[in-house]
Amino acid sequence: MPPSFLEERRKAALEVYEREPIPTWRRSGFWTTSLRKLRLDELGPRRYDPVASLDELSPVVTDALRGEELAGLIVQRGASTVYTEVDPALAGQGLIVMPLEQAVEEHTELVERWYMKRLSEKEGKFPAASAAFWTGGAFVYVPRDIAIDKPLQVVYLIDEPGTAQYAHTLAIVDEGSKAYLREYCLAPDFEGQALHAGGFELYCRPSSNVKLAHLQDWGAGEVHDISTKRVEIAADAHCGWVPIYLGGRLTKQTLDIITAERGADMRHNGLYFTERDEHLDVFTTDLHEQGHTTGDTVFKGALTGESRASYEGLIEIVHGAQETNTYLQTHSMLLSPKAKADAIPSLIVKTDSVSASHGGTVGEIDEEQVFYMQTRGVPRLEAIRILVEGYFEEIVQKLDDEVLEAVVRERIAGKLTEAAAEVEEYIAQR
């Protein structure tokens, strides 16, 4: 029997889900994110049996994890948790890594204290859907005063068209602890539609130091990903978050970082690479709820094909949050004449005595840079690849994670190779 807090929350969410129509996100100008092509009725949760080894799963999982030693691992395929693992020594020190479904039973108080503290079913149809329907899920709890260097890994895998995956990750890094959390959303290339509706919440408790990375690569299928990810940072805690978007037919993301108490510090460095007819819509908010907090957000993207990408980044400093020091920058790079990008930084400041700045650009690779590299013997295409890699380097190195950095670099290189002819032509024409 699930505890009543969860039942109530699911019921409330279901009401919202049933009441709300499928949304369309419109913004001033040409930008609209519409789900009219999504055939929601044809999608449903898919259940799978657990596996004994990751090799039994779609190779996209091992391709991304590359056999790295992990502090803990949860893999959810469709609606089912199919693999879990946790370093026994760390478990002995109190580390919890398990499906959220199980944590609700086994760590009821802990889950109840944090569950959906910063997420709400009232935010819309899809946040309500994931709150109402999630199964499996991930729960990560890092107890006080321990330092874990190896990654804590959550994987959401969709490998069949027709799948609707409702996901929920809840993570808490308790006081004075250090941890590295990664959440990957992966799919092989397939034909047909799928949906991932996800909720993610991370609580960085006082004086904790947390690294967080998201990798989304849904492959070439028609995966629609509508997710909300929220990070709360308590007093004197630090969180460095690197979300990476490498593919999905339609992606609508709400990413929020909240510096909730004095001394909280966040670094938010994201990147995306869209191709073909992909559509990506990311809205980040750096919410400073208290003064004496610091923030730094840099988001960079590149587009090929006929893809569309919009990044909107908001810095919000609430009334009374003085002595806040924050900065937001976004850049998009167009690599195709048919791609469209939007980069919109904005600022809401309701107090005085803060330092906040923001900027946004949409740019292109310079033929002059390509020529310069060619005069050093580097062929055009490789020059373009190096320039794009160099453009992203600022973000990628923030990962400070050799394995994931290699994955990201390789995939970007692969995408550039695929779009080579088009990119080359485009740069030469201008």
């Binding site: 840079q369 310069y372 590299m373 060619q374 190096i386 320039l387």
Partner: protein
Amino acid sequence: MSLEIKNLHVRTEEKEILKGVDLVVRRGETHALMGPNGSGKSTLANTIMGNPNYEVTEGQILLNGEDITEAEPDERARAGVFMAFQYPATIPGVSVANFLRTAVNAKREEPISVKEFGQILRANMELLKVDPQFTSRYLNEGFSGGEKKRAEILQMAMLKPEFAVLDETDSGLDIDALRIVADGVNALRGPEMGTLIITHYTRILNYVRPDFVHIMLDGRIVREGGPELADHLEEQGYDWIREEVGAGAA
């Protein structure tokens, strides 16, 4: 072994810039190309490298007898032609060391070993008195004028071209830096390399003595001579040449 420019006519979208340039640089020779601002020196350098902004409407560029007029810039580079830019581009996110390795490897079948690369790089950095930290910086990003020029010569040293065009590498260098760069060029030139130094000043030519001096005016080479021609220019400026050329034309 030579780099040969034959009756080269070059234009941009707007206008004709080079109006028939002939120039031969053989391996082992050092040439200086001088001329007033806007006369077409950088255009010549860029055309030698195959900059797509410049269209060759007539004439040829031959490398060791082979026509490279239509070759891609990277093919020319791999064939042994190098240019140190007057205004080098910035390459964000790519460190000097990584860039150099990529460039060195572009010419090779098998990538250079980490050890060998490190050795060559260190030797060249010593030669050019480059700070070791320099190579971890992103290429030309936030570099001072002098640092950019030094980075260009470092690239030349690593790539060991057969023919190098130095476009105002001496401009913007303080006296010490000029000396270091000149020493670097001197160490690299020799029977293996032909050098074309584009400059406005005889300063560098006092360190790197040219065998030949060419004066460009309005897209043509109008005077040629030995090093004494450069000295003469330094004293007299370009007016006398303009007058002589004008008189000749009239």
